[in-house]
């Protein structure tokens, strides 16, 4: 039997045209890094597009090499025989523009100056990310996707997609998302950005030939990591346990397990993420507001034809159920066939990334049954 260990390679697509950005600026010569799984059928009706979250990338499932220790970030859900079965479906996932995992971002070379972009990289929005990825979907020859799926920032991209391209996907699934970035979310992001920008190594974003602003980026990650968990999951995992010792040392070094865990999260993040990308992507999320330029947010889905499944997580306090219910209301106001479930898991906003049966079962039921009934 084929297994999820089958090797997948990251592919790259160069955009011929400039990407027009919401800010009015343009992004020339952009590259999009993407991965695909399974086979596109002849009629091209079995493509499922995954939008990734803030720190995600195109590597959503499988392994990139034989000894790859890190399978894709949603490997428990996507693969042969899994919730999204890659024997049936053709799965696509791409790194967002502005990111640092292969798509053009602030660490890429600016074709005008032949130097890294740094802060010269234009400010991007969720809409810009989606528009760039739509070009990839067109390039792959898919006129209408079977489904668009995403959690967190990925969910925002799903909402933007069904708003901007209302007839380009049969189905849409959002997880832990919101119609607009809530104030608390902006607040946490701002603390993270300040940690980066106040790191002396940041140097207005021009650090690529010198020391990186690792302190700032790791502190930003430590903070945001707390917001992705829950009080309960922290308590269950660490309690007040001391780190590798039986008594207090009375100093400001590591005393508690939870401190050690957070520091580890921060340190492992700096190995895989670029600080300027972190600034850009958090900014894009903060700008996200589907009601901008509209009388009411309901107008965003006036032409949307996709059947929708909105999922929230009971322990998610960053994008709580209330936010998902606002999505449900806006969709229903436009007579869109909408389902909603609040999945009961204790791990906070990151629950959808932690292996479980609830997400695969719900998503499989939603997609498989639709295919049986509607796609002939």
């Amino acid at each position: 039997m084929e297994n999820s260990k089958s090797i997948v390679k990251t592919k790259y697509m160069g955009l011929k045209e400039k990407v027009k950005l919401e800010s009015g600026k343009t992004l020339p010569n952009a590259t999009i890094a993407y991965e695909t799984y399974g086979k596109l059928n002849k009629k091209k009706t079995n493509a499922i597009y995954i939008f990734h979250a803030l720190s995600g990338d195109a590597h959503v499932a499988g392994s990139n090499s034989k000894n790859d220790k890190n399978p894709g970030w949603w490997d428990y859900l996507i693969g042969p025989g899994k919730g999204i079965c890659t024997r049936k479906y053709f799965v696509i996932c791409a790194n967002v523009i502005g990111g640092c995992k292969g798509s053009t971002g602030p660490g890429s070379i600016n074709p005008k100056t032949k130097k890294t972009y740094g802060l010269k990289f234009p400010i991007i929005t969720v809409k810009d990310m989606v528009n760039a990825q739509k070009k990839l979907i067109d390039f792959l020859g898919v006129k209408k996707l079977l489904a668009v799926i995403g959690g967190s920032l990925g969910g925002m991209q799903v909402l933007e997609f069904i708003s901007s391209y209302p007839n380009s996907s049969h189905l849409a699934i959002t997880i832990g998302a919101a119609l607009k970035q809530p104030s608390q979310g902006i607040a946490f992001h701002e603390v993270g950005r300040q940690a980066i920008m106040r790191d002396p190594n940041w140097k207005n974003g021009s650090y690529y030939n010198n020391a990186f602003p690792n302190h700032g980026l790791s502190v930003a990650r430590m903070l945001s990591h707390i917001t992705y968990m829950s009080e309960k999951s922290l308590q269950n995992k660490f309690g007040r346990n001391l780190q590798d010792k039986k008594s207090l040392d009375y100093h400001f070094g590591i005393e508690f397990q939870v401190e050690s865990y957070l520091n580890y999260q921060g340190l492992s993040f700096i190995k895989r993420f670029d600080a300027n990308s972190y600034l850009l992507i958090t900014r894009a999320m903060d700008y996200f507001d589907l009601s901008r330029g509209r009388k009411s947010v309901d107008g965003a889905f006036k032409k949307t034809k996709s059947k929708c499944l909105v999922i929230s997580m009971s322990s998610d306090w960053l994008y709580p159920t209330k936010d998902s219910l606002e999505i449900v209301s806006a969709l229903r106001a436009n007579n869109i066939d909408t389902s909603f479930i609040e999945i009961d898991m204790p791990y906070g906003h990151d629950s959808f990334l932690i292996k479980n049966n609830k997400f695969p079962n719900a998503i499989r039921g939603f997609i498989d049954n639709y295919c049986k009934e509607e796609i002939k």
Binding site: L309, S339, E342, K372
Partner: protein, 203 residues
């Protein structure tokens, strides 16, 4: 197949739009979708029930009947179903009035608390009745607002609701519609088809 589901099925015209309030695991909706080609929607408050519905490919919302019905538009469904649900809600009258607002017709089924077995149980034991149809203890029952067939007819009148049809049945009795003599005493369950009384604006 549950007898009450078969009974409800008879009332549903092909291709109609159906909303099941308190749809549980979606069995009834699936039946109506398959055998009546109905355009079905469900609502239930429990995550595990909604999950079962999603596995069946049903469109369902995990919402609270007691407070989340306002987003449904007037007469947006041909039928709204309250299948053994009304006795489990906080404000049955409010829910019933919402149901007849949303649905052109409403089908209500409920356990009859005046069935003789219930009456005898209370009379002989002096304890809250526990029967095969009502197997719960008083402290853990989901049925928080018990009522009888007589009560239901009375409250329908008070709220100016029109009773279009009614059927009485004992769930075991699954061969055709039983004729129940003196239903408030001998019927374990009742089904009512209702609508708003003065509703000239819909067919």
């Amino acid at each position: 197949m549950r007898y009450d589901h078969l009974l409800i099925r008879r009332y549903i015209k092909p291709n109609s739009k159906v909303l099941d309030l308190g749809c549980g695991n979606g069995e009834l909706l699936l039946l109506l979708k398959r055998e009546r080609q109905a355009n079905v929607r469900g609502l239930d408050i429990k995550e595990n029930k909604v999950a079962k519905c999603l596995e069946k490919g049903l469109s369902v919302l995990q919402l609270d009947i007691n407070k989340d019905l306002h987003d449904y538009k007037d007469y947006s469904f041909d039928y709204v179903i309250l299948n053994d649900t009304l006795q489990t809600v906080y404000s049955p009258i409010k829910v019933l009035n919402e149901a007849v607002r949303i649905g052109k017709k409403v089908i209500v089924t409920f356990p009859n608390f005046a069935h003789y077995s219930v009456r005898f149980y209370l009379l002989l034991n002096g304890k809250m009745p526990k029967t095969k149809a009502l197997p719960y203890e008083w402290y853990n029952t989901p049925n928080i607002h018990f009522f009888t067939i007589k009560d239901f007819i009375e409250i329908s009148r008070k709220n100016k609701l029109k009773i279009i049809d009614k059927k009485f049945y004992n769930k075991k009795n699954s061969g055709g519609t039983p004729k129940v003599f003196h239903p408030n005493l001998f019927a374990k369950n009742a089904l009512f088809v209702m609508s708003k009384r003065y509703s000239g604006e819909h067919k």
